[in-house]
C-alpha cells in the first residue's frame, strides 16, 4: 500500500476533458479516443493537419463508412494527419461552454481551430444546425467571409454537397463526389500553396481558395454569384472568378480495387449504431428508382471482385475482432458474386460465432435465399422496401417490384421460418392517389394472408406474424427525376397515413397513439414535420442559410433526433428571415426553373432526368443499364468512369454515351 498515491490517480494526462466532466456526462466513452487503430501522429512531423468531423454524436458518426475511408486514406499519407471530431451531446456542449473548452480532435486533443482543414461529412440535411454548432464550439467564424488566413479551411463533402447552398456561406469549399482521390489532391494543392506561404497567417485566403479551386470536383461557393427573380426563384448563377469551373463535376473513383477496404478501421470502445465490421462490395446503383438521390450521385456501378471481398473480410475480422461483418453497398443483392461469396464466408467464419449481414434486401426470393444462408438458425426480422403500395405507383417510381415478387419473397421467408417482417413505404409520391395509399394496407393484408397459408413445414414458426409498416413522407431531392415535384404538406401526409390506418382497421387517428382494437400490424410513422424541413433544406438556395443560422441561434440542435427537433424554433426562424418553407417544400417547379444546384453536376445530364420524369408520368419503366443497354444518363461520358462488373461475363462492360 505504499504506492497509494500513484495507483490512486491512474494518470491520463492526454485527456482533454476534465475528469469530473466525464463523470457527469452521459456516455463519456464518446469523448475518449484510445480506441484500437486510432492513428496518433506527432503534429510537428506532418505538413497538413486534417480534422474530419461528423456533425452528430460519436455513435452515429463512427457508423459512417465514408468518414472511415477518408481517415484511412489521409493517414496513409506521410505528410498528413487526420483526426476525428464529433458533435458533443447536449450535456457535453453545456459543460464545454461553461468551461470555455474549445472543440478538440479526439486523437490529439488539439483544438480544431489549429488544424489546416476541417472536413465536414454532410450526409443528412437535419444535421445542418450541428454543423454551425461545431464551428462555433471550435471558435471558427461561422461565415467563411469572416475567416482569417490562419483559420482552418472548412470543406464539406457527402451527398448533401450536391446542393450545399443552404450551407454555402459557412463553408470555404465543398468536394463533390467520392473523396478518396479528391482529398489527396486537396492536400497536394495546399502543400504547394504553403511552399510560397510558409506561415499559415501568410497571404490572402482568396489566393489559397483559387489554388484549391483548380482541383477537379472542388466547389468554392464564394466564387459564384446567385441572383434571384422577383418571385423568388433563381435567375442566374454565374462564376465570378476565372478559376471557378462551370459546372463543377463530381469526382469518381474509376476502379475501387485501387482503394481496398481498410483492414484495420478504428474499433470503437462504446457501442455504435452499426457496431460491426463493414466491407464495401460495390459502389453505385443503376436500378433507377426515380425518387432516389443515391442512385444518381453514385453512378456508375463499380463492383469489387468476390476474391477481393473474401480476403478483405478475413483481414478486417482478424484486425478488429468484430463478431459481425456487413457487406455494404446501396443494394448488395445486386452485387454479382454475392451468392457464392456469402456461401464462402459462412463456411469460413460461422463456427467461430461470426455473423454476416446485408444492409438491405431486395424484394424477391433470391434475396430471401441469401438471407437464409446467413440467418440459418437465428431468424431476426426481414425488411423489404416496396416503397409504394400499388403496381401503378411502383411503375411511376421505376421500382420494378411486382406484387407477386413481394408475396413470393415473404412466402419463401415464412416457409423458411421467419415471422417478423418490416415493409418500407413512402406516402406523397408524385401522382399518388388515395387508391394508391390504400393499396399499402391491402398489401399488408395480402402478406398476412400468405402468413396464414404458410403451411406446416417443420421450419415454419408457430408464433403470430409480427408485421410492421414503416411510412415515410416522400422528400423530393436534387439531381433526381422528381426534383421538380412538390412535397405534400405535413397535414396531407398525416391524412394519407390515416387512410392506411383506417384501411387496416386500426382505430387510431393519424399520428395518434390511441389504443387499437387489433394491433396486428404495427405502423411506424416518421415525423412529417422533419420530412418537411428535410425537403426545404434539400432543395434550398443560399437565402435558406439565414434560416439555418437563425434556428441555430434559437437553440436548434440535433434536428434529426425526434426528442430534440423543435418545429416551433424553425417556424420562428423562417418567419424572422421572411422565407416561406412551402416555397421550397411544396411548390412544383416549372420546366425552365434554374435550380440552386444548377452549377453542380453529378455527371448525370438534366435531359436524362427530364426524360425519366416524363416516363414516370407515363408509367414507363427504364431498365438497369448493368444488365440491359445504356439508358443514356450521361455519367460515363462526363466523368470518364464506366460500369465495372466483377466475376461474370462482361466484366469491364463499358457505359453508354455512344461507346
Amino acid at each position: 500500500m505504499t504506492s497509494l498515491r500513484d495507483s490512486d490517480r491512474p494518470a491520463d494526462p492526454g485527456l482533454p476533458v476534465p475528469e469530473e466532466v466525464l463523470r457527469r456526462v452521459t456516455r463519456p466513452g464518446r469523448y475518449l479516443d484510445g480506441e484500437l487503430h486510432a492513428v496518433h501522429k506527432d503534429h510537428r512531423s506532418v505538413e497538413v493537419r486534417f480534422a474530419l468531423a461528423y456533425p452528430d454524436v460519436y455513435e452515429v458518426g463512427m457508423s459512417n463508412l465514408g468518414l472511415g475511408l477518408l481517415y484511412h486514406v489521409l493517414n496513409a499519407r506521410e505528410d498528413t494527419v487526420a483526426e476525428r471530431v464529433f458533435s458533443p451531446w447536449v450535456d457535453m456542449e453545456a459543460e464545454m461552454r461553461r468551461l470555455g473548452l474549445p472543440l478538440f480532435a479526439l486523437e490529439s486533443g488539439v483544438p480544431v481551430r489549429e488544424f489546416d482543414f476541417l472536413g465536414v461529412s454532410l450526409q443528412y440535411e437535419l444535421t445542418y444546425t450541428n454543423v454551425l454548432n461545431l464551428l462555433d464550439l471550435a471558435g471558427i467564424p461561422l461565415l467563411a467571409a469572416d475567416r482569417a488566413p490562419d483559420d482552418p479551411l472548412v470543406v464539406g463533402g457527402g451527398p448533401c454537397a450536391f446542393n450545399p447552398e443552404p450551407l454555402a456561406p459557412f463553408f470555404d469549399l465543398f468536394l463533390l463526389g467520392e473523396g478518396e482521390e479528391g482529398v489527396g489532391d486537396l492536400v497536394e494543392a495546399y502543400r504547394e500553396w504553403r511552399k510560397t506561404h510558409p506561415r499559415r497567417s501568410d497571404g490572402d485566403r482568396r489566393g489559397l481558395l483559387e489554388a484549391l479551386a483548380r482541383v477537379p470536383g472542388v466547389y468554392v461557393p464564394s466564387f459564384y454569384e446567385v441572383t434571384y427573380r422577383d418571385e423568388g426563384t433563381v435567375a442566374r448563377i454565374e462564376p465570378t472568378d476565372p478559376v471557378a469551373p462551370f459546372p463543377v463535376v463530381k469526382r469518381v473513383v474509376g476502379d475501387l480495387s485501387r482503394f481496398p477496404p481498410p483492414p484495420a478501421p478504428v474499433v470503437p470502445l462504446i457501442e455504435t449504431v452499426h457496431d460491426r465490421a463493414v466491407v464495401e462490395v460495390m459502389r453505385g446503383c443503376t436500378r433507377g428508382c426515380r425518387f432516389c438521390q443515391a442512385g444518381v450521385i453514385y453512378r456508375p456501378v463499380r463492383e469489387r471482385s468476390g476474391t477481393e471481398v473474401v480476403r478483405a473480410v478475413r483481414d478486417i475480422l482478424a484486425g478488429t475482432g468484430y463478431e459481425e461483418v456487413s457487406l455494404a453497398s446501396l443494394s448488395t443483392c445486386d452485387w454479382g458474386p454475392v451468392a457464392h461469396v456469402l456461401r464462402e464466408l459462412v463456411a469460413e467464419h460461422r463456427n467461430r460465432g461470426i455473423g454476416v449481414s446485408l444492409p438491405s434486401l431486395r424484394t424477391d426470393t433470391f434475396a430471401v435465399d441469401l438471407a437464409s444462408k446467413i440467418q440459418e438458425v437465428r431468424k431476426t426480422g426481414l425488411t423489404f422496401a416496396p416503397e409504394a403500395g400499388s403496381e401503378r405507383l411502383r411503375a411511376v417510381i421505376n421500382k420494378g417490384v411486382t406484387e407477386e415478387d413481394l408475396l413470393s419473397a415473404v412466402r419463401a421467408a415464412f416457409q423458411a421460418g421467419w415471422d417478423r417482417v418490416k415493409l418500407y413505404y413512402m406516402v406523397g409520391l408524385p401522382t399518388e392517389t388515395d387508391e394508391d395509399v390504400k393499396a399499402i394496407a391491402a398489401q399488408a393484408a395480402e402478406v398476412q394472408r400468405v402468413y396464414r397459408e404458410r403451411g406446416t413445414g417443420n421450419m415454419v414458426s408457430r408464433r403470430p406474424l409480427s408485421l410492421t409498416l414503416s411510412l415515410a413522407t416522400f422528400v423530393p431531392k436534387p439531381h433526381t427525376p422528381f426534383q421538380w415535384e412538390p412535397q405534400v404538406t405535413p397535414e396531407e401526409a398525416a391524412r394519407r397515413v390515416g387512410l392506411v390506418r383506417e384501411a387496416l382497421g386500426d382505430g387510431g387517428g393519424a399520428g395518434g397513439k390511441r389504443r387499437r382494437r387489433r394491433p396486428r400490424v404495427k405502423v411506424d410513422w416518421h415525423n412529417p414535420q422533419m420530412a418537411r424541413l428535410e425537403a426545404v433544406l434539400a432543395r434550398g438556395d443560399r437565402r435558406v442559410a439565414d434560416v439555418v443560422l437563425a434556428a441555430w441561434r434559437r437553440g436548434a440542435r440535433f434536428d434529426g433526433w425526434t426528442e430534440h427537433f423543435r418545429p416551433d424554433v424553425w417556424e420562428e426562424a423562417f418567419r424572422v428571415e421572411g422565407l416561406d418553407p412551402a416555397f421550397y417544400a411544396n411548390r412544383r417547379r416549372s420546366a425552365d426553373e434554374v435550380f440552386p444546384w444548377s452549377h453542380l453536376s453529378s455527371g448525370v445530364e438534366e435531359g436524362f432526368l427530364r426524360r425519366e420524369r416524363e416516363k414516370a408520368f407515363a408509367g414507363e419503366g427504364t431498365a438497369d443499364c448493368r444488365w440491359s443497354t445504356c439508358s443514356g444518363c450521361g455519367v460515363c461520358a462526363s466523368t470518364g468512369a464506366v460500369t465495372l462488373l466483377a466475376d461474370r461475363a462482361g466484366r469491364g462492360k463499358t457505359g453508354g454515351d455512344g461507346t
Binding site: M1, L4, S7, D8, R9, P10, A11, D12, G14, L15, E19, E20, L22, R23, P28, G29, L32, D33, G34, E35, L36, V267, L269, I270, E271, D275, L317, A318, G319, T320, G321, Y322, E323, R352, G353, V377, R378
Partner: protein, 237 residues
Amino acid sequence: MTAGSPVHGSPRWRLRVCFSKTGRLRFISHLDFIRAFERAVRRAGLPVSMSEGFSPAPRIAYGWPLPVGMAGLGEYLDMELERRVSPEEVARRLNRALPEGLTVHDARYVTPHGPSLMSELDTGTYLVRVSAGGRSLGEWREAAARLLGRDRLEVTRERGAAGDGTVKGKVVDVRPLVRRVEAREVAGDEVVLYMELALTGHGVGRPEEVAALLWRELGLDPGAGPRRVSAVRLGLR
C-alpha cells in the same frame, strides 16, 4: 483454488484472469468493456469455448461490474478454453490485443467445478480520495470508528426517474455492506479513505455513499461535499 482439469465429457479449461481497467478505459461501461474484451479475445486468436444455441457467444464469466469512471486494479474474469494454453501465453497474447487501459496481470487455471466468480469474490477493496472538509486525520479516523459502531446506516438511493420526471428515492440500510473503513492520510484538503465493501446479490456497497456518511458523521454540510477527487477499486476478494 486447485489447478484446472478438463470437465468430464467435454474437455474444458477454466482460466481465471486478473486484470486492470485504468486510464480512459475507466469511462466505458461494463457492457462496453465486455465487448472490447471479447473482441480482443478474438483478435488474440485464443481457443475460447463457445456457448451453444442460436447465437454462440464466448464462454466468459465476468466479475462485479466496476462503476463507470472508477479504475480497477485487480479485477477478475473466468474464461473457458477448449484446450490448454499456458497462462503466460494467454496473458501475453491478450495484452498484445487489448486496448490501452486494459492489462492482464495474471492468469491461472482453476477447477471448472468450483463456485462462480461472483460468489467467490464478495468483497471489493477501495481507495477513495475526497475533500477533507478542513478536518484532520484524527477527526476522520474517529468518524470512521463511530460509523462502524452504528447499527444502521441509512442512505437514499435513486430508483430512476418516474414517469412524471421526478426521481424517486428508496431508503436503504447499508450497514451490512460496510466491512471496513479507514482514513489513511490527509494531505492538503484531501483525505484518503480505504474501504472494504460487500459485493453480493443482496447489495453492493458504494464507496461514495460511505464517504458521504463519514462527511455527515463529521457534521459537515452535505450540500458542500464530499467532493470526489478519485476512486479506485484495488481488488476483489
